[in-house]
């Protein structure tokens, strides 16, 4: 018994260990490919493409504190500030100082701290015509930028502007906005009134409501100056859209908008005006009526084809 064992172990010791070449199993290669692909997709989605904010998100504890989850009032203010920046800030400025020939200042404006209903009316219904703000005369128009905001969001934004930049107004509650909105809606054309109007008239109302004339001129007859835009530095007029678009093409264009306005001088600044995407702002009924009005702008007696 023990002899047998001995001889076996002796035999095994005699065999030289050898190393053989063999191909890497195909499944490892496939697995590597899949993992690499997923890795790259993950990298693409989450790396921030080496953005400073991702790789050096903060320089001090103070800065970091802003990124901490907030609750109650602090969160409300942060949210309202964000809404302000996206809806109002483009024209009125992040600093509330307004922009020359575009929008009056809000910092120190008597309208901001006045009674709540007059204030709600401005973002809710828009504002056209002359107004004096902090001793200066303005005669511009503003689209109903806040009409699509919820009561709470609009209240938040109004509270934000009433209490920022040195303004000393009281907070506005969602109920205040709701009441003011009910009072204002009494003046808007009713569904029955709208049904009596022709599509062109309804389209004109839409054109006025959303302030299209601010850029495209009264009745779309001539656009405002647009520095460095390839279109002769003008926002195009709309009197020829009937020749250039079908109704569906026009609707699609209004919905999508055009953010990248080609530049006249490639090295020059980005043109300040661009076509917003109205898809999420105007209702589908309004979008149906608008082309009727725009097509009616065509000059009488002009041939539409060649």
């Amino acid at each position: 018994m023990s002899d047998e064992l001995k001889s076996t172990s002796c035999e095994q010791a005699d065999v030289e260990p050898t190393a053989t070449n063999s191909a890497v199993p195909i499944w490892i290669i496939v697995l590597t490919l899949i993992l690499l692909f997923l890795g790259a997709v993950y990298f693409d989605r989450h790396s921030g493409w080496f953005d400073q904010q991702v790789y050096a998100p903060f320089n001090s504890a103070e800065e970091l504190a802003r990124y901490q989850p907030q609750s109650g009032e602090a969160a409300m203010i942060t949210h309202s500030k964000a809404v302000y920046e996206s809806v109002c800030g483009t024209c009125h400025g992040s600093d509330g100082l307004g922009k020359p020939n575009q929008a009056p200042l809000l910092a120190g404006s008597e309208w901001v701290v006045k009674d709540i209903q007059s204030l709600v009316r401005i973002p809710q219904a828009g504002l056209n015509g002359p107004i004096q703000v902090a001793g200066h005369d303005w005669n511009l128009s503003m689209a109903p930028m806040g009409a699509g905001l919820s009561d709470a969001d609009l209240a938040g934004v109004l509270s934000y502007i009433r209490q920022s930049w040195g303004n000393k107004g009281g907070a506005v509650s969602a109920d205040d906005v709701k009441n003011a909105r009910t009072a204002i809606s009494g003046n808007a054309p009713s569904a029955a009134d709208l049904a009596k109007m022709t599509p062109v008239e309804r389209g004109h109302a839409v054109f006025q409501k959303y302030g299209c004339f601010q850029c495209h001129g009264p009745d779309g007859k001539g656009g405002v100056h647009n520095t460095n835009a390839k279109t002769a530095e003008q926002v195009p007029s709309l009197i020829y859209v009937a020749d250039g678009y079908t109704k569906d093409e026009l609707k699609k264009f209004i919905m999508t908008g055009e953010r990248d306005i080609p530049r006249m001088n490639l090295a020059g600044p980005e043109p300040p005006h661009f076509m917003p995407s109205w898809g999420s702002i105007i209702s589908s009924n309004e979008l149906d009526d608008l082309p009727s009005f725009l097509f009616s702008l065509k000059l009488k007696g002009e041939k539409s084809d060649f």
């Binding site: 070449n21 290669i29 790259a40 530095e233 195009p236 020829y240 006249m264 060649f306």
Partner: protein
């Protein structure tokens, strides 16, 4: 050693593929990708048209077409796009013509339009016939009349 080399080649290949994949995923995220992709596809096609067999008037119009339209975009965009019907060209040319500062007056616009209608009836005949077949009887009749008008004017 050989296997190691082979493996690093595989790794390289895999990395390239992965990056490509990520790129595709990224492109799909961007806004209005459909329209952009469509235009890019057109622009990748031929940059010029061989007009040597076209009548003289059409050859002259091709000159207007190639000088005016390249002020703002590559000529390959209209050359390879899927517009073929006279009304499509009419809208497209009018849309471009009425952009402020285009420098295309009605006379130039008409030349460009007639060139495009003529060219579509020759070079893009299959696509044109296909669209004509799908059009309503009324639209088909109007389109054929327009094409005939342009062909008669230049073919003489």
């Amino acid at each position: 050693m050989i296997n190691q080399n082979r493996f690093s080649v595989f790794l390289l290949g895999a990395a390239t593929l992965a990056l490509l994949g990520a790129g595709v995923a990224r492109a799909a995220d961007s806004l209005d990708a459909e329209t952009k992709a469509r235009i890019e596809r057109f622009e990748k096609g031929a940059l010029t048209i061989d007009v040597s067999k076209y009548p003289g008037g059409i050859r002259d119009n091709y000159e207007v077409f190639s000088t005016k339209c390249t002020q703002c975009h590559k000529l390959s965009r209209p050359i390879n796009c899927d517009y073929v019907m006279p009304d499509e060209w009419s809208r497209y040319v009018k849309r471009m013509m009425h952009k402020p500062g285009s420098g295309i007056d009605t006379a130039d616009g008409k030349k460009i339009y007639e060139f495009l209608v003529y060219d579509s009836s020759v070079r893009k005949k299959t696509m044109l016939d296909d669209k004509l077949a799908k059009a309503t009887a009324e639209d088909k009749k109007a389109a054929e009349a327009k094409i005939k008008e342009v062909r008669d004017k230049y073919d003489k």
